[in-house]
């Protein structure tokens, strides 16, 4: 179910909130959490009952193996359960996401025929699998794991973050679920949840989706092997740069907003990445929980910085490459990952061996750095979006070709200018709402003039944004990150 679909907005969400708060009003706090779990399963199962069974099976197996990995008295049994859990989760994601890609390429290398199985990817498998791998590793390392199967299942499936993140650590949700089981929800969070959700919905429905509809034909043209003009190539590249920004940013806002509506804070996953001055900073702002996961569970196990600078750079490169392939099983994602891996490795190398570059802080240097970074990121997005590698190269080649016919209308150009201004200069929705994912920090913050507050004007603006979302939701478009 899409957050921007009418089924979600007008049926699932109101019913879930009514059920959750209704049970809490009756003093049934534990039951309200069970209800959230059932609602999360319904949310997932709405798309495919078969995939729901995969999710449930994956939760059951990982939960059981993690218990053994955390608490078995025999070290050998713990290690065996840990490795079995890792193998199970990695096999699951490999089968559904990478088998066809790997097998078809292997067959091509040896000159054999391979019929694609066209395995349908369960929604969010990359997210719930990574989340469970992190949990398994933590259980094994610390010897501490979740005893309550409901709370474990809720940690994996809580509908705001189930299908496209953020990737949440168990240690982050555990105290929150415990608090929900014993104390009332902080109702002050709810207006902020509604406002942040509405902002996310507006980003998705009113900015990302219209841009997507305008530029999809450009990418379809290159995918079909037909030529495009320079104007179309630039429009496609800039348009997709904005589309994926507002799509993912909108999704992250909606996830946080939905969490707040049930009294759960989720980690910040997106923090104005196009304002970054370097690729290192970009990845501290874009899909932050994936970056953190890759650092903790890939980079560090690879050796981190323990064997000198060259090995550190190698490990950074490999980690980013794995991050690229995580996004999809196609050569376009491999190349996208390679570009980012090369850029971030170069950035780290430059900091190491040419630190003076980092100290250029005058406005002109900063503008130059941001421009260079944006151009590199935009070129890489072409691979991310294109149907195949030749189509991506065709679009890159077309960037330097004659202008050609106008590919998009003036209203889309105006929207893209507005969206660019928002992405490059405006404070983020989480900044204006004063959101903090630090569970020790107060939220909502005390009223301040520069922060969004639940006033009558804000209520009207929220209703208008929700209306915009509902207007588009009658034929919604899928979130890009739902595909991973």
């Amino acid at each position: 179910m899409l957050f921007s679909s009418y089924q979600f907005l007008l049926v699932f969400l109101p019913l879930t909130l009514c059920g959750f708060y209704g049970l809490r009003a009756l003093g049934r706090r534990e039951t309200s959490l069970t209800f959230l779990l059932v609602a999360s399963f319904a949310f997932y199962g709405f798309g495919s009952l078969a995939h729901l069974s995969i999710l449930v099976g994956s939760i059951a197996v990982t939960y059981a193996l993690a218990r053994v990995a955390a608490s078995a008295s025999h070290e050998g049994v713990r290690t065996l359960a840990y490795h079995a859990g890792l193998a199970f989760n990695l096999s699951l994601i490999f089968w559904f996401k990478y088998f066809d890609f790997a097998a078809s390429n292997a067959a091509a290398i040896v000159g054999a025929d391979y019929t694609m199985r066209n395995i349908v990817l369960p929604l969010g498998i990359s997210f719930f699998t990574f989340q469970q791998i992190a949990y398994l590793v933590d259980c094994y390392r610390t010897g501490d794991c979740e005893r309550n199967p409901r709370d474990y299942a809720l940690f994996v499936t809580l509908y705001p973050q189930l299908v496209a993140g953020p990737i949440v650590h168990h240690a982050y949700t555990r105290p929150q679920f415990a608090a929900l089981a014993r104390s009332p929800v902080n109702l002050d969070m709810i207006p902020y949840g509604i406002m942040i959700f509405a902002m996310g919905l507006a980003k998705k429905a009113l900015i990302a989706d219209p841009i997507a509809r305008a530029i999809d034909p450009i990418f379809a043209t290159t995918a079909a092997g037909d030529a495009i003009g320079g104007a179309a190539a630039w429009a496609g590249m800039i348009g997709y740069t904005l589309q994926i920004y507002f799509d993912f940013s909108g999704y992250c806002d909606m996830a946080i907003g939905l969490g707040l509506m049930v009294g759960v804070r989720l980690p910040v996953n997106f923090a104005s990445p196009y304002k970054a001055r370097s690729i290192i900073e970009f990845w501290r702002r874009w899909h932050m929980t994936l970056s953190a996961f890759l650092k903790d569970y890939v980079y560090v196990p690879l050796g981190g910085n323990r064997r000198g600078e060259l090995f550190r750079l190698r490990n950074i490169f490999l980690t980013m490459l794995i991050g690229g392939v995580w996004h999809g099983a196609a050569w376009t994602f491999v190349i996208w990952g390679l570009i980012h891996a090369a850029l971030i490795t170069l950035n780290h190398a430059a900091r190491l061996w040419a630190p003076a570059l980092d100290s250029w802080r005058d406005p002109l240097s900063i503008a130059a750095k941001r421009t260079a970074l944006l151009l590199a990121v935009m070129l890489a997005w072409i691979f991310f979006r294109s149907q195949n590698v030749p189509a991506a190269f065709a679009m890159i080649g077309a960037l330097l070709s004659p202008v050609g016919a106008a590919p998009i209308g003036p209203e889309i150009i105006a929207l893209m200018i507005f969206a660019s201004a928002l992405a490059l200069f405006a404070p983020s929705s989480l900044e204006v709402s004063g959101y903090s994912d630090n569970l020790n920090a107060a939220f909502p913050k005390p009223a301040r003039a520069n922060l969004l507050r639940p006033t009558p004007t804000a209520a009207l603006a929220t209703a208008v944004m929700l209306l915009g979302g509902i207007a588009v939701a009658w034929k919604p478009a899928v979130f890009i990150y739902f595909n991973f």
Binding site: Y6, T455, A459, L467, A471, W474
Partner: protein, 350 residues
């Protein structure tokens, strides 16, 4: 600094404001031609042609054929006009307004638009050996907002979905109308207009491929399809006895709404049985459930078992369609010999 609302007051204020805005959205006006272009599936792809036939084609409509893909792909309006003229010496204009998939709400929406635009003299409503218990999924795309709101809520699997999609549809159509940017074309273009929209010899798929219907399928293949169809079909009366009055209430409601449209425009209504492969007879039990006294045009009979006339388990091939169209013309000539006006059958009908 503006005063903050309490959490409950804020949620309430957002809810009230949103409901008000949704209500206003439903009232937004738009161009109905744009609405008929809102099709996003194969089932309603023909809707823009239907609107053009009703509103832009200067030819009147004497006979409006209302039905499913069996009508859309199985009856040739031109053949019916020609054969009717040859039999009666009268020139009539027939419009094949069939839309794929069964759903009486869609038939009502189309009949209403036809009544409003061309006031046909006769509506021919398709009947099949089975009747849908579900409404047509394309209703929300073409129906008037008032009809979506007034649709029966009970035993209507689409009611909630249609209702909550309505404001979005209205807002989108409003802005499309203001910007003059519909899905297909802002102005009627005679060069693009498909005339009779005859799909008896070939059909065009969504991806643009054309499927030739001038083929004969092996009997074994058709028998296989027939067996699959039977296995998937529910019995005519599937509901337990106490609930039986509700079983086809939805279909009855819209069939009587079509009768009201006909009454309002002074039109007659005829019911035509269009069979499926190996289902030669309109089941009397179903007629009774639908409150229809009799079928006055029966295109079933032994030919329903003739494998050489079928494209698949429910649709005629080109030869089957030619025979069915001729039989439809003969039935019309017999039951309604006074339609149209006396005129030569030469010219465009040749």
């Amino acid at each position: 600094m503006e005063k903050s609302l309490s959490p409950v007051a804020f949620a309430f204020a957002v809810g009230v404001a949103l409901l008000t805005l949704l209500g206003v959205a439903v009232l937004l006006p738009h161009d109905r031609y744009y609405r008929y272009q809102g099709h996003d599936s194969g089932t309603t792809r023909k809707a823009d042609w239907i609107y053009e036939r009703l509103h832009f084609d200067p030819a009147p409509i004497d006979v409006a054929l209302i039905g499913t893909s069996r009508t859309a792909g199985g009856l040739s309006a031109l053949t019916i006009e020609r054969d009717y003229c040859r039999t009666t010496g009268r020139r009539i204009h027939v419009a094949n307004l069939g839309v794929p998939e069964m759903g009486r709400n869609m038939h009502y929406a189309i009949a209403k638009e036809a009544g409003r635009a061309k006031a046909p003299k006769l509506f021919i409503i398709e009947l099949n050996e089975i009747e849908a218990r579900r409404p047509h999924d394309g209703f929300i795309l073409v129906a008037d907002a008032a009809d979506v709101l007034r649709a029966p809520a009970a035993i209507n699997a689409n009611y909630a979905a249609d209702l909550i999609r309505l404001p979005g549809r209205q807002i989108n159509l409003f802005f499309e109308t203001i910007a003059e940017r519909p899905r297909v074309r802002a102005q009627f273009d005679p060069a693009e207009y498909e005339g009779y929209f005859d799909r008896t010899n070939a059909i065009e798929l969504l991806d643009g491929r054309e499927i030739d219907k001038r083929v004969e399928k092996p009997r074994a293949e058709l028998d296989d399809l027939y067996a699959q169809r039977l296995a998937a079909e529910a019995p005519i009366s599937a509901f337990p006895t106490p609930l039986r009055p509700f079983e086809y209430r939805y279909a009855r409601k819209y069939l009587s709404a079509i009768e009201e449209v006909a009454r309002a425009t002074g039109a007659e209504i005829g019911y035509a049985f269009l069979p499926a492969y190996r289902s030669p007879v309109m089941p009397p039990a179903l007629l009774e459930q639908l409150d229809i006294e009799s079928v006055n045009i029966d295109l079933g009979g032994p030919s329903a078992g003739d494998a050489s006339l079928w494209f698949d388990a429910t649709h005629w091939n080109a030869r089957g369609a030619a025979i069915a169209s001729a039989r439809m013309a003969a039935s019309l000539a017999k039951a309604y010999p006074y339609l149209g006006r006396r005129e030569s059958c030469d010219g465009e009908l040749q």
